[in-house]
């Protein structure tokens, strides 16, 4: 009955520590798009793919005492850090199951900036369009982020490399 919760704990455990709610949202979205078994429903909001269900699940995991959330002030705004605590580690060792190939993808994503993962997840959101249309779409819906052509190419390459890792 808590299988989907366990998958989120596993992802955070593989990452070690995730800094930023947005980053965690995008990491799960990208993992889902790579066909890892995450069930959370995502919708496109003004700032990219976002899952209310994931927000809720993380809150539940924090309340149940398996995930440690730290709120910190960084140059005038709040930032959240997430890590699996001791109870969470025990939970994983008792009930957890390895998700094959997830670890390397998650660790790779965790090394990227939140801004870059926002771009990658947006590109993946529009994956049914062709490459030029995706670029145009990103420039439209993310106008304020001012992504450069190089960053977008980098995002496409990065997606290819992630797909290569899971094949």
């Amino acid at each position: 009955m808590f299988e989907d919760h366990l998958k989120v704990v596993t992802l955070i455990q593989e990452a070690g520590e995730v800094v930023g709610r947005k980053k965690l949202q995008k990491m799960v979205y990208i993992a889902k798009k790579l066909n890892f078994p995450f069930q959370e429903k995502y919708q496109f909001h003004f700032y990219g793919p976002y899952s209310e269900e994931l927000t809720l699940k993380i809150e539940e995991l924090c309340n149940m005492g398996y995930i440690h959330e730290v709120k910190e002030k960084v140059s005038g705004y709040s930032q959240y850090r997430y890590a699996v605590n001791e109870e969470g580690q025990q939970l994983l060792s008792t009930y957890g199951a390895e998700i094959e190939k997830l670890g390397s993808c998650v660790r790779s994503m965790n090394e990227q900036s939140s801004r870059f993962l926002e771009l990658v997840s947006t590109v993946m959101y529009f994956e049914k369009l062709d490459k030029d249309e995706i670029k145009e779409k990103v420039q439209t819906v993310k106008a304020k982020q001012k992504y450069t052509e190089e960053e977008m190419d980098e995002a496409f390459n990065y997606i290819d490399s992630l797909k290569g890792q899971v094949q």
Binding site: M1, F44, F46, L56, S75, S78, K137, T140, V141
Partner: protein, 427 residues
Amino acid sequence: MAKLLGKLHEEKVFKDPVHRYIHVRDELIWRLIGTREFQRLRRIRQLGTTYLTFHGAEHSRFSHSLGVYEITRRIIDIFQEKKTWDPEKRLLVLSAALLHDVGHGPFSHSFEKVFGVDHEEFSRDIILGDTEVHRVLLQMGEDFPVQVAEVIAKTHRDKLIVSLISSQIDADRMDYLLRDAYFTGVSYGNFDIERILRVMRPTEEGVVIKSSGMHAVEDYIMSRYQMYWQVYFHPVTRSAEVILSKILHRAKELYETGYTFKRELSHFKTLFDGNVSLHDYISLDEGVIHYYFQGWMEEEDSILSDLCHRFIDRKLFKYTEMVSFTDGHLLSSYFTEAGINPKYYLVVDSSSDLPYDFYRPGEKEERLPINLLKPNGDIRELSRESDVVEAISGKRRTDHKLYYPLDLIEAIEDKTLKSKIKEILNR
């Protein structure tokens, strides 16, 4: 843009219990309403399983869609005189308002979870695919269907027209709060919509509200807050939703393991196979689903049959506050020992709502704030001006419940096992 569809010779009106009348003057809108994909919305309830809790909640997505169209039409009538409004966008916004829910299927929430389908993708497919809706939209220009789809998907470049249909104060929310309150019979969802429409102003970045209308907006936010907890997240409705999901899971599982159903699965086959076509999707409505559920009540599989009886006859699961992970696993093992499959009879369901969210500098939240326009032209975010809204801003409220069949637990013959289960559930 070449407008091939113009004005109707005579205005058409629909009687509506919420807005009194819905006025249609454009041939485009009239013809969209007449398409089979839009008419299908008559056969899909706006509030899914809520009718099992609030018996009046039988209203359809059809009436809600007309309501969103009517509110948008009235907003545009007010905007017509404003310099910041582009009159060329009128039919684009009205079409998007009318069609914003066209991709919804029966009991969308459960269907989406079980079969991995997405009503937003189907909205896009209906607007851009080989459908009557698409053919009507095409008459407004080659690019018109794509633009309508983009407004609905919130990916259109014009933030103002997107905000009319999708923001924290939009035509969609205003209609569903009033309509759902009316049909459920609760007194919470009402607010002064006339006042709100009068104080809305168009800007490039979206709609803003004249600060003199702040109290009407406060009332709207509080209405929404109360409706979520009194109606939308009602635990009994969620129990019906839980059973509905489990029926779909069970039927899918049986199909995948080669079980022979007594009734031909024509409507469900492509859903179970994970390759549902647009044609199959459009043919699904609540009548079809109830037809199958009635048939499945007679199936040999005792779980499917029992769950369908529960749904049709309203013998719902009971609920308690969510137990810990360890207790949950203990309960699962006790259920298994008692011969009750925990996969179908022990379910955690969570609801969560953020009544209003504001913009935090440096941290990108997912919702655009409601902005007030001060008499001197300054823009101020709502929660910085309103103590009432400030009190509930950014505060997520959540509710986690564990659902179970009390009747099956009561029927367990092993008294020790039964008392162990009840002891955890009553903690």
